[in-house]
């Protein structure tokens, strides 16, 4: 049997061995960090050590880190801004779009980059306080947004800025202070940490309205007993991610080489966001005429795990709102898949992907072109 190939790191990443060790060691300990006795104090120390490591990954101070149950909760917490007009980029993750149902959508260009002139115009037309949410890197295409520019414009209008850095952290350098955002969301399991933990990094200024109320943990900003073991794993993953950032250049080279090889087979291969700054690990590419669902099934049968868009709940096949916002025609968008690599990916993984892609294209791509799908 073929060794399975995992190329869906933007959905979730395998845990790094040192993370597994940290998580299992912490799981074997008893102690509620709010307890004053020794077991409680040891658990508290584990949490605070990890908090410092998470802060260091993004150049923030430990006191600025609010630990949450994950990236989704962190985004929801940042967007819990009653009384503020919310503006979100059209390519945000569902966990930003859904909590801000009435938000104004900032358009993006054909590369998926947020339209800064439009943002400026929109802010000029708003009375009262506002919040702008623009992600650092897109989960489907990997396209990196000019967040510093967004901050410059938004702050000129005294608007708060939230940045979803869930996909960016661990893949590119993220500097909370240099970005100048007011809040920044992180997730552990996208960077080799465990599922079930994330963080919202908060500048000194904005006061958060909590989503979860209760025991006063996280200095009143997020109630609930700390998920000590997962937090310990997050800390180790953050420390390793900062150290392993150089390895991402290798991943980028493998990814670029993969795209070049496919392009030789299919000149004009649609790769979304290829002309702009992208995450080193992500490739969103279309096989014209072959539905994404058909592709991912075929890849799975060949032992290659890739994805047809974001891993969410529904299982429904809907056109990607990200590609739609970029103006990609539906028939092309519906044949796009996402390939995302990570810390354990090898050249052989990409070879397997390329082989499978080519055989699929040979089998289905041509046939579909003879009899195009309805």
């Amino acid at each position: 049997m073929l060794v399975p190939v995992y190329l869906d790191y933007n959905a979730t990443a395998p845990l790094k061995p040192a993370v597994i060790d940290a998580v299992t060691a912490a799981l074997a300990e008893v102690g509620n960090p709010s307890s004053v006795h020794r077991f409680g104090r040891l658990a508290r120390r584990t949490v605070e050590t990890a908090r410092a490591e998470i802060a260091a990954l993004v150049g923030a101070a430990p006191a600025q880190v609010v630990l949450t149950s994950g990236g989704t909760e962190a985004n929801n917490l940042a967007l819990n801004v009653p009384g503020r007009t919310v503006l979100v980029s059209a390519v945000e993750h569902e966990s930003v779009l859904r909590p801000a149902r009435e938000a104004l959508r900032i358009p993006v260009d054909r590369n998926g980059i947020v339209d800064l002139a439009a943002l400026d115009r929109m802010l000029a037309g708003i009375d009262g306080p506002a919040l702008v949410a623009v992600m650092l890197a897109n989960n489907e295409t990997g396209v990196i947004q000019p967040v510093e520019e967004v901050v410059r414009i938004a702050h000129a209008y005294k608007a708060r800025v939230h940045c979803d850095a869930v996909q960016a952290a661990g893949k590119i350098r993220v500097d909370f202070t240099a970005l100048g955002v007011d809040t920044l969301a992180l997730s552990a399991h996208k960077l080799g940490g465990p599922q079930g933990v994330g963080a919202l990094v908060v500048a000194d200024e904005p006061v958060l309205t909590p989503l979860l109320r209760g025991g006063g943990q996280e200095r009143g900003r997020r109630a609930g007993t700390e998920n000590v073991a997962a937090i310990a794993g997050f800390g180790v993953a953050a420390a390793l991610a900062a150290k392993d950032l150089d390895r991402m250049a290798e991943i980028a080279a493998l990814r670029d080489d993969m795209e070049t090889r496919l392009e030789r087979i299919l000149p004009g291969l649609p790769v979304f966001g290829r002309d702009v700054r992208r995450l080193p690990n992500t490739s969103c590419l279309a096989m014209p005429g072959v539905p994404a669902e058909t592709q991912v099934m075929a890849f799975d049968l060949a032992g290659v795990a890739v994805s047809a868009g974001a891993a969410c709940s529904s299982g429904k096949v809907a056109t990607s709102h990200v590609l739609a916002a970029m103006g990609v025609p539906p028939n092309i968008a519906n044949s796009a898949i996402r390939v995302s690599a990570g810390w354990r990916s090898t050249p052989a993984d990409f070879d397997r992907f390329v082989e499978t892609w080519i055989s699929l294209w040979t089998r289905l791509g041509r046939a579909e072109r003879v009899a195009p799908a309805a």
């Binding site: 597994i20 307890s35 004053v36 020794r38 077991f39 989704t72 891993a311």
Partner: protein, 429 residues
Amino acid sequence: MTMSSPALNVGNGSSAAPAGRAGANEPKKPIYLDYQATTPMDPRVLDAMLPYFVEKFGNPHSRNHAYGWEAEEAVEKARKQVADLIGADEREIIFTSGATESNNLALTGVARFYKDRKNHIVTVVTEHKCVLDTCRHLEMEGFEVTYLPVRQNGLIDLDVLKQAITPKTVMVSVMAVNNEIGVIQPLEEIGHICREHGVFFHTDAAQAFGKIPLDVNRMNIDLMSISGHKIYGPKGIGALFVRRKPRVRLVPLIHGGGQERGFRSGTLPTPLCVGLGEAAAIAKREMTAEAERLKKLRDRFYERIMSRLPEVYLNGDLENRIPGNLNLSFAYVEGEGLMMGIKDLSVSSGSACTSASLEPSYVLRALGVDEELAHTSLRIGFGRFTTEAEVDYAADRIIEAVQKLREMSPLWELAQEGIDLKSIQWAAH
């Protein structure tokens, strides 16, 4: 004190000792008697979780490949295990990050969904902080909340509950078991009253799930908050039972990818879900025998204390109480001094969430325990890994510490001479 007592070594048993970290020159670990704050993981639970940290790391919501399906299957098995422990259908279980989130979701979710028709909530003064804080916030949003008092034994008066329900009442939220005093509220009767009046019944079962038999149908429970780390499972995972028939609707608290049928978005942490499921399955098999064992230990401890120390008061009803809890006030000792005197026992002087503060426990105050006595109180929690030797050792240490503090106390001396301390006019200084 002698740190080489054979009884003390028991405290370093499998329950608390971290794997591979008990160095010879490390100080001995205290005996863990704080099972209401959190519990050690059961090794069987950890074993069940491990594969999902290692090779089965998929995102359970990935629909495109085997990694995702494998994780999803594990999550669904866990959901069934949780449902089975309370007689629910697995489709009625929503995974959350813990009981705090479950309580927040149940209260705000239901209140906000029905706010156009009903705007009144009934709860109890001794609820967990996260219920009370959420209710206070709902009051700011315009809801009305009635906080029922408790009787001296910590239980609510059912007639007072009945009178509190109005046509505007949407929900009654009463905890199953109190986290400080361990008393079990009359759930079946409360459920009956709620159903009769057509109001939803939510119960915070963080301290009850896996400890006492719960049946959502027999007890007419519409929403139930569940915690993982109180039943030898992992932290960071909990659940909310939401009845389907008759259906309870709620507004989600966390929006996004639409996981958990839209009630709670966010990637489910597969290993943690598996841990909660396994902990529930073990509890289902072992609850009865374990309760019996813990009751024996608890009674042994209680009798040892009561037979050797006068002026010790039990807080909360003894009959309607989970077997793993005692809450005792030791008159004429100074609370902080007592804690210092029993440093090799890990017990709590209040609810864990507020124990760092010096405020007297609001739960004890609600029972009518006066402030001074409340300050002398200890919560002692027994659990799956507590041994008879630990219990005896802990009781002896407490007895010793209390006797020593009383010998030094002028108040104790006055009380022994029969002087009513309340009658003394203390000079100001």
